[in-house]
């Protein structure tokens, strides 16, 4: 009963977000986000009716829905990247290289990990697949958040809500799936409630933060610095060198 309520509330919230998006014409501004919402709503409604008809065959549908949600979820990451970082080419390049490095590390780990494992259970494969893909998303969101904070990039309410909502869902899913993978089927009852509940919380966050269009503040570049990055770096390094040596000498007895 509780699962049904959470599921139903989720569908209603998804519909509300999409309705508001079309009404306020935000769909054209955040196409990847609304494509994700549309996909998830479609799959949720379909799975809901399949489950109502025949609850025994719902397992396969559930994993199908999760896979669609997972893949389309990368659209949100693309939306965040486009809206938050594209006005800052330097920060965008930094985030892109970080993303490639993180992806490379995870890819190498994914190749090496099956060789290191002593046993392999097909039953746990879907849970592990989702957990691993959520890990990639989690690390990517972490990296983007760090770049945003490090470069002091101001973000609007819409983007803040998008990052917070999706990040919350990904983090909760990751923790729940990791515990489920470790504890086994006895954790299913908790998993089936907590993961959809965290998604409902994310939907509430999105409903509030995407109710009206609030874009990112545009950074003014009224004063042009030297066009050369090397000059900028050399200048900063030189300043730091002077300060470091003075501090070091002060500390020396």
């Amino acid at each position: 009963m509780l699962s049904w309520t959470i599921w139903s509330v989720g569908i209603l919230l998804e519909a509300l977000i999409l309705f508001r998006g079309f009404q306020g014409k935000f769909v054209s501004r955040y196409p990847f986000f609304y494509a994700y919402s549309g996909c998830v709503l479609f799959v949720s409604v379909l799975t809901y009716f399949v489950y109502a008809q025949d609850s025994t065959s719902s397992g396969m549908w559930y994993w199908g829905a999760q896979l669609v949600s997972l893949i389309s979820g990368y659209g949100i990451l693309l939306e965040i990247f486009n809206h938050v970082l594209s006005p800052y080419p330097g920060a965008e390049k930094f985030a892109r290289v970080t993303g490639f490095i993180v992806f490379g590390v995870i890819f190498c780990f994914a190749l090496a990990y099956p060789l290191m494992r002593s046993q392999w259970s097909p039953a746990g494969t879907m849970v592990e697949l989702e957990r691993n893909l959520r890990t990639v998303q989690a690390i990517f969101i972490c990296a983007v958040s760090c770049v945003i904070s490090y470069y002091g990039i101001a973000i609007g309410k819409n983007m803040k809500g998008m990052i917070a909502g999706y990040g919350l869902y990904v983090a909760t899913s990751l923790v729940i799936l990791a515990v489920r993978s470790y504890a086994g089927v006895r954790f299913d009852e908790v998993w089936k409630v907590v993961q959809p509940l965290s998604y409902d919380i994310s939907l509430i966050v999105w409903s509030v933060t995407l109710w009206s269009y609030q874009p990112n503040p545009v950074a003014e570049r009224s004063i042009q610095l030297e066009a050369d990055y090397e000059t900028c770096v050399a200048r900063t390094r030189s300043l730091m060198g002077g300060m470091r040596s003075s501090l070091g000498k002060v500390a020396r007895p």
Binding site: P89, G90, V97, S145, S149, Y151, I163, E220, M243
Partner: protein, 192 residues
């Protein structure tokens, strides 16, 4: 078990990064205010914090020796506490100016399409190391008192002179040139 801890760690990392991102105070956007802050930071370092006579005065052992020879114990203690407080405030202020300079660099670097990842990482590390040095120095002064660095007057004078040169070049465009102002005025007078 290690695997579980690893995934839980990534989850916790994401939770905390979202928490900090949502609580982050929106910093001044655009370059003008950051540049002015950087200029102020440099001015503060040049004329307020790093001049040798000021640093020498804050950390001068002779002052303490004079007080120790001519005053009772409780006055000496009071003097020592007061000097320590000033020394700590000095380090805090230097640290705050370093943060301001870092903000200035990041505010400029984020717009450079030709930004180099390796260079940025090195700079990030250097800034972190410098800030850590400030922290360590603070702890050092807190524990050992302000009289643990007798050679600082001469060396800080040299560092301040070097900083003066570099900072003048770095932010020279924010200081109106007297010659250009004079030229503008002359042109205005000639036209009228």
């Amino acid at each position: 078990m290690i695997q579980l801890i690893l995934f839980l760690f990534v989850g916790a990392l994401l939770f905390s990064s979202i928490f900090f991102l949502s609580r982050r105070n929106p910093r001044t956007e655009g370059s003008s205010k950051v540049l002015v802050e950087a200029r102020q930071a440099l001015n503060s370092l040049q004329s307020g914090l790093l001049p040798p006579e000021l640093v020498g005065r804050i950390f001068a052992r002779e002052d303490f020796e004079y007080v120790a020879n001519h005053t009772p114990k409780h006055v000496q203690e009071m003097f020592r506490k007061e000097r320590k407080r000033i020394a700590l405030a000095w380090v805090d202020q230097v640290r705050s100016e370093v943060v301001s300079l870092r903000r200035f660099h990041l505010g400029a670097a984020r717009f450079y399409a030709k930004l180099k990842f390796k260079t940025e990482m090195t700079l990030a590390f250097d800034f972190a190391a410098l800030l850590l040095t400030c922290r360590a120095l603070r702890a050092f002064l807190y524990m050992r008192g302000p009289y643990a660095a007798p050679r600082m007057v001469q060396t800080t004078a040299a560092a301040a002179a070097r900083l003066c040169d570099v900072s003048e070049k770095a932010l020279a465009f924010l200081t109106p040139s007297p010659l250009s102002t004079f030229a503008d005025r002359s042109a205005g007078t000639a036209q009228s």
